[in-house]
């Protein structure tokens, strides 16, 4: 389990280094806050507020899946496969990364909501 945490730590560093990944993390909460403001008190606005974590899970999972595809193309995935961290450890690290991204996006969403209100 420790190696999954170690790998997650490095994955977070990699996300921070990549402008595209950072933009993908930020775009959902910012867009959701903008939509929330536009919808105001309409039922859609309230729904967005309630279902944001679910949206964040979908986007976080999509982002991590995209990164795994890019890792195959760059060769990094093969590099990981040649270590004892292959398989379950990499999978656990990806799940942890999704959870972290969901937490970050949710925090940004509710933080921005508080500011704009």
């Amino acid at each position: 389990m420790l190696r999954s945490f170690v790998l997650t730590y490095w994955e977070v560093r990699r996300v921070r280094r990549s402008r595209a990944a950072c933009a993908a993390v930020l775009i959902l909460p910012v867009a959701a806050v903008a939509a929330h403001m536009l919808l105001g008190n309409a039922p859609g606005g309230a729904l967005l507020g309630s279902f944001f974590p679910a949206l964040a899970v979908v986007l976080g999972s999509a982002l991590v899946w995209m990164r795994s595809v890019l890792d195959r193309a760059s060769g990094f995935a093969a590099g990981l496969e040649s270590t004892p961290a292959a398989g379950a450890i990499v999978l656990r690290a990806r799940v942890l990364l999704v959870l972290l991204l969901v937490l970050v996006q949710t925090a940004i969403f509710y933080g921005l909501l508080r500011i704009v209100r």
């Binding site: 190696r3 170690v6 790998l7 490095w10 560093r13 990699r14 280094r17 990549s18 760059s74 060769g75 990094f76 995935a77 093969a78 590099g79 990981l80 496969e81 040649s82 270590t83 004892p84 961290a85 450890i89």
Partner: protein
């Protein structure tokens, strides 16, 4: 004694057999070379030994001695690939730290070990540069560092050492030979005769098949006869003249025209008498690993 046993291993990629019926054993503490030109099946074989791919037929197994846990041994093969398996967004030093932390090596001294490999592989000046910004030669050095930092029982390095500059290559070999003395096993894939000559034993591959197996001297000696080398005085017809007169395949190597001969001295005398005006220098030499590779290609 632990060893790697490759038993009638084959690998089919799509409809093509990249490897067929390969069998050999690698002993613990051996530096074993897989020698062949590109397309010979070297990388496929090394990926099978590294456990990254599985054979379509036959087996590739890391054998444990009595008392060793085979599952623990499975986690003891570190592989440096031709296409680097590094994280492109991270720096060289970060990559080595990341991969060192994924292996069951003692935490204490890990930073020092990482720094040692950075120094050894001539990466000190670029240690804080992202891998995606590095030129190919330095990426190869970083990839070797990624495999060595694991300090695994078995290290597989696929065609990367020859991409290093000469001093770094020498230091890398010194490290490999010193680790061998401690019982570590290395499997080196190479197309370079200079690298192959440093291995304890070689498997010479061509067309996905094992052509020779033995020490570098045994492999070179497998080529019968001698090699006649002719330095030409810029006569463009000399190559075809030699091929015609001696009914041999003439190749160009290091500025000389060369062919294999069973009666070397007689052939040299004949060249001097018949083609003397076109020839700058003629000499006989013993076959090398490159000649063994040429023969393997023809077979």
């Amino acid at each position: 004694m632990n060893s790697i046993a490759v038993d009638r291993a084959g690998k089919r990629i799509g409809q093509v057999w990249a490897l067929r019926d390969i069998s050999f054993e690698i002993a613990r503490g051996e530096v074993f070379g897989v020698f062949g030109r590109s397309g010979s099946g070297k990388s496929t074989l090394l990926r099978l030994i590294g456990g990254i791919e599985h054979p379509t037929s036959g087996t590739v197994a890391l054998e444990a001695s009595d008392g060793d846990d085979p599952s623990w041994l499975d986690a003891q093969v570190s592989v440096a690939l031709q296409r680097p398996g590094l994280a492109p967004e991270l720096t060289v030093a970060e990559n080595l730290r990341l991969f060192a932390s994924l292996w069951p090596t003692p935490r204490k001294g890990r930073m020092g070990r990482t720094a040692m490999f950075i120094e050894l592989l001539g990466l000190s000046d670029v240690r804080n540069r992202r891998v995606q910004e590095l030129p190919e030669g330095l990426k190869a050095a970083a990839e070797i560092g990624r495999a060595l930092v694991a300090q695994a029982e078995v290290t597989v390095i696929d065609g990367l050492i020859e991409r290093l500059d000469r001093p770094t290559r020498r230091r890398a070999w010194e490290h490999i030979l010193s680790r061998r003395r401690q019982g570590a096993t290395f499997v080196i894939g190479t197309a370079s005769a200079a690298e192959a000559a440093l291995c304890d034993r070689l498997a010479v591959l061509s067309g996905g098949r094992l052509q020779f197996l033995g020490t570098p001297d045994q492999v070179s000696a497998g080529v019968q006869g001698e090699v006649v080398a002719v330095e030409s005085l810029q006569n463009p017809l000399l190559k075809s003249n030699l091929a015609e007169r001696f009914a041999a395949a003439v190749t160009e190597r290091n500025g000389s025209l060369e062919f294999k001969s069973q009666s070397g001295e007689a052939d040299v005398a004949r060249i001097l008498s018949e083609l003397g005006s076109d020839v700058g220098c003629v000499y006989l030499r013993q076959p090398t690993l490159d000649d063994a590779l040429d023969r393997a290609e023809k077979d």
